[in-house]
């Protein structure tokens, strides 16, 4: 699935991943392929990505929103 992490200043990350972990407002949650469409707010924490090459990427966010739709994830981070 594709993920895009964008901030008002720049695009932080864009690419395909196998799983992602988000710091949701109501607690951390993970997303794998074919997740249902969801819009969720995020709190301060880390977004952890596992890329197709099985490497880990971690991004610090101060909050934001994530939209997941048909295997396309858009993160509006701060």
């Amino acid at each position: 699935m594709n993920i895009e992490i964008i901030t008002p200043d720049k695009k932080l990350f864009s690419g395909t991943v196998t799983s992602v972990q988000f710091p949701g407002t109501n607690g951390s949650f993970g997303v794998k392929n074919n997740h249902a469409a969801i819009i969720s707010t995020l709190k301060k924490g880390q977004i952890k990505l596992t890329t197709e090459q099985n490497t880990q990427e971690v991004f610090e966010v101060n909050g934001g929103v994530v939209e997941i739709l048909a295997n396309n994830i858009t993160v509006l981070a701060e």
Partner: protein, 292 residues
């Protein structure tokens, strides 16, 4: 006819001015490119946020938050966005004129305050009777342009939003130059608060989203974000416009200086020729006289 030395001095001074304006033009051109890049970088975020909000508020009936409350307009806050430096044509004047017009005509019955961003408007409105709330954060707002990032702008937007929520102001308006292209700026007057309900163009396919934690919560989270983005966008636009305006102004100044130099050179050469002719005449006249 002015004497030769005077004209020579003027030519030197005009050409050094020309050099300065040429350099300023080039600096602005470089800065303009960077400012434009920043706008392009911000656009995907702003668009996505707008999409989300439209999508949400079209399905949500009562989105009456603290930021969308319409009250009787008694206290108005104007936010004129200008530059810190001059020499950019009518760029700052347009904003100041518009802000003064709004304060004196449209909102003549309300108490008007100003939050000046940029030294030029600050200097102008300092001398008027309008209460400047920029003085609460001295100089801070002028330094915004030195390092224009979202993290710098967000606290300012938050400050204004808090003031609105505390009923300190009933209406907030941003006045700035929107960037169209390097030569064209469009003066914009935008209502910042209360939030106007987004025009829900419900043409897009409705998707059944899950909402975490709840729809209402997300909307109340997103509205402040979109407000911050709105101010940030206005600032970026103004920043790019400033450099565009300065580039055009300096280009014209360089051209004018060139024309002036050409004219001065012509006068100089004419004067030089006249003096040579004079000299020859004197010599010939002297020689004739000697011949007797």
């Amino acid at each position: 006819m002015a004497n030769l030395k005077e004209i020579r001095n003027r030519i030197t001074s005009v050409s050094s001015t020309q050099q300065i304006t040429k350099a300023m033009k080039m600096v602005s051109a470089a800065k303009l490119r960077r400012a434009q890049d920043a706008i392009v970088q911000m656009r995907p975020y702003a668009n996505k946020l707008k999409d989300l909000l439209e999508n949400l508020s079209s399905t949500l009936e009562s989105s009456e938050g603290i930021y969308s409350e319409t009250r009787e307009v008694k206290n108005v806050l104007l936010i004129p966005i200008t530059s810190n430096r001059g020499l950019c044509g009518a760029f700052n004047n347009n904003v100041i004129k518009k802000a003064s017009y709004l304060a004196n005509h449209e909102y003549a019955n309300a108490k008007v305050s100003m939050l000046c961003i940029g030294k030029k408007s600050d200097e102008f409105f300092k001398r008027t009777e309008y209460h400047i709330i920029g003085s609460d954060l001295p100089r801070h707002l002028n330094e915004l342009f030195d390092n224009l990032t979202f993290d710098q702008v967000a606290p300012v937007a938050q400050l204004v939003m808090n003031a609105f929520a505390n009923k300190q102001f009933d209406k907030v308006i941003i006045i700035y130059n929107q960037f169209k292209n390097a030569a064209v700026q469009i003066l914009q007057e935008e209502q910042f608060l209360p939030v106007q309900k987004p025009e829900s163009s419900s043409s897009g396919s409705k998707v059944d989203y899950l909402f975490e934690p709840s729809k209402e919560y997300i909307v109340t989270e997103l509205i402040p974000k979109s407000l911050k983005i709105q101010l940030y966008k206005a600032l970026l636009d103004s920043h790019a416009s400033e450099h565009g305006a300065r580039m055009t102004a300096m280009h014209k100044a360089t051209d004018n200086a060139g024309a002036l130099i050409k004219e001065l050179k012509l006068t100089y050469n004419k004067a030089r020729q006249a003096s040579i002719t004079n000299e020859i005449l004197e010599i010939v006249g002297g020689a004739e006289a000697l011949k007797g």
